[in-house]
Symmetry: C2
Subunit: 356 residues, 2 copies
Amino acid sequence: MSTEALFNIQHPILQAPMAGSGSTDLVAAVSNAGGLGAAGAAPMKPDVLRAHIHEIRGKTDKPFNINLFAPASERYDQSLELGPKARALLESYHRELGLAELPEARALFGPAEAQLDVLIEEKVPVISFHFGVEQDHVERIHRAGLKVISSATTIGEAKTLESLGVDAVIAQGAEAGGHRGTFLGNYRQALIGTLALVPQVVDAVDIPVIAAGGIMDARGIVACRALGASAVQMGTAFLGCSETRIPPLWLQELKSSSPSRATVTTAMSGKPARGLRNRYISEMESLDEPLLPYSLQYSVSAPLRKKAMDQGNPDFPTMWSGQGVQMLREMPAAELLESLVRESEELLSQLAGSPD
Amino acid sequence: MSTEALFNIQHPILQAPMAGSGSTDLVAAVSNAGGLGAAGAAPMKPDVLRAHIHEIRGKTDKPFNINLFAPASERYDQSLELGPKARALLESYHRELGLAELPEARALFGPAEAQLDVLIEEKVPVISFHFGVEQDHVERIHRAGLKVISSATTIGEAKTLESLGVDAVIAQGAEAGGHRGTFLGNYRQALIGTLALVPQVVDAVDIPVIAAGGIMDARGIVACRALGASAVQMGTAFLGCSETRIPPLWLQELKSSSPSRATVTTAMSGKPARGLRNRYISEMESLDEPLLPYSLQYSVSAPLRKKAMDQGNPDFPTMWSGQGVQMLREMPAAELLESLVRESEELLSQLAGSPD
């Protein structure tokens, strides 16, 4: 089945859910333009999530996707404490920015069970999970007549997701911005480039494969179609949309960065994620000390990252970015979707018409 | 200008030069089939190199490419000594395999100046350099009426190569097997996936861009053409060709490996390169001690790596591999070229004919 039929959308283009940077306007604009808009709901408490869904439904009657972080991510030892070197470094940053003392480490996301209850009650058309998926969640979603998808960063993860019954698998190449979806094994061994990952996942599973990682324009879309993907998921490409409303600092840094700056680090959240390297990442990584697990690391750095972002200080904030950053374009989401579709068609005719 | 016209070849498919695994039969078979065959000559003394070129010319009258490592790579401090932990580990391996004492560390490659003299005297049609290129070499090659190309792993490197006057730039994505071509900055920040690297390099330079990294079949070729590449360079894909004659162990390990095993390490040669992870890589990387620079690290591990390969012991040998390893096919090079060309045409018609 095509992903258009699977999700009841017009164009096989999915907006990546972005918890830190999305907006209901962006979700609605993408879905209204014939793609699949998406919201990252991992940090939302159930009542906030419900209100968020209602807000989206007030702006579009088209299908959309709500993303959760798999509950397995909540099963870390949440009683761990910040190491002495990391604490000293964070405290020095707090002094530098005039912040109060460090917050207690705590879990920032979920609980996924209660979040999923809301998504099912609200009949959200597409539910996606990052960091793997639970089989009973897949079954609950299917019993409700809804679709479920999840990300794989290796061939083995894709086969696992297929065996758990997801409707489609997102092959998340190493280029992708934000959190790596890796849920089996060492993330360093799961940094497989999109061009290599997608066809090998297509060969390994029988469900539709959605390509993600480094796709910024029609060139990436047509390339992924050639690799056998049924659809693409784009994240960084939507950061330049006027509906996204990321902080001005983040957008400005994206516009002046090369892909070499978009680095995979665990220093932000405790889980590997790709974002723009800054002083915080470099200094935190250079500590000879294990960091806190996800999402405790995220919570202790939260006031620092927020204050710096508000102040326009690039040294400390989280600024997720994929490796396609220099292809970023600024335009409304509807215009971006329309351009992607038109330019993909033009590129295909051009390629088919060109001699060998 | 098309790369076919630039190199006077029929199909825009370059075989990657592979010093450790190529053969004159492979070079000739690829060139005779309309691609651009290539030999990795970095380890060859000038007289060996000259004989190698004559051997290739005895098997094909078509253009081919000879690859050297840029002389800047020879400018490391060659007097450094193996650290105590690495020495102890290597000595324990030598005892385990019944080898004599460790060899003295020495430079294995070059001198590139004398090698280049031979290439120019022999009028080798295409000369490629890994690890950057020297401007006076580019000028000498052009004065001789020959072509010169080199690899870039970042946008900045591509612009540098263009400014030095190369005829085309190879955009080597992170998926690629063998040595990273990185010559500016930290290699960890130069692991950019092919799907993201190629279009950004295409946008940044005015010379033809040859895509490399993870390309194994028609899907990769058509994808790279969509990304704006003028041609592709494939390495791992040719390791399954009967003319390649890599050791049976290497081929067998390739056939049973997933992309997660193809890791970038400096433990083999002293420079970052992607190959199949084994005990040697894991244990050498876990030493809390800097390794020798390129190519000294290569030289001290040479007897060990060779003996293990000969014995069919996967624990120690060098087995370069890209991340597309599960797409490896075994067939003669002429058949592979013919398949790639035919399947690319079929895939393009299929894509152009399919609805959005």
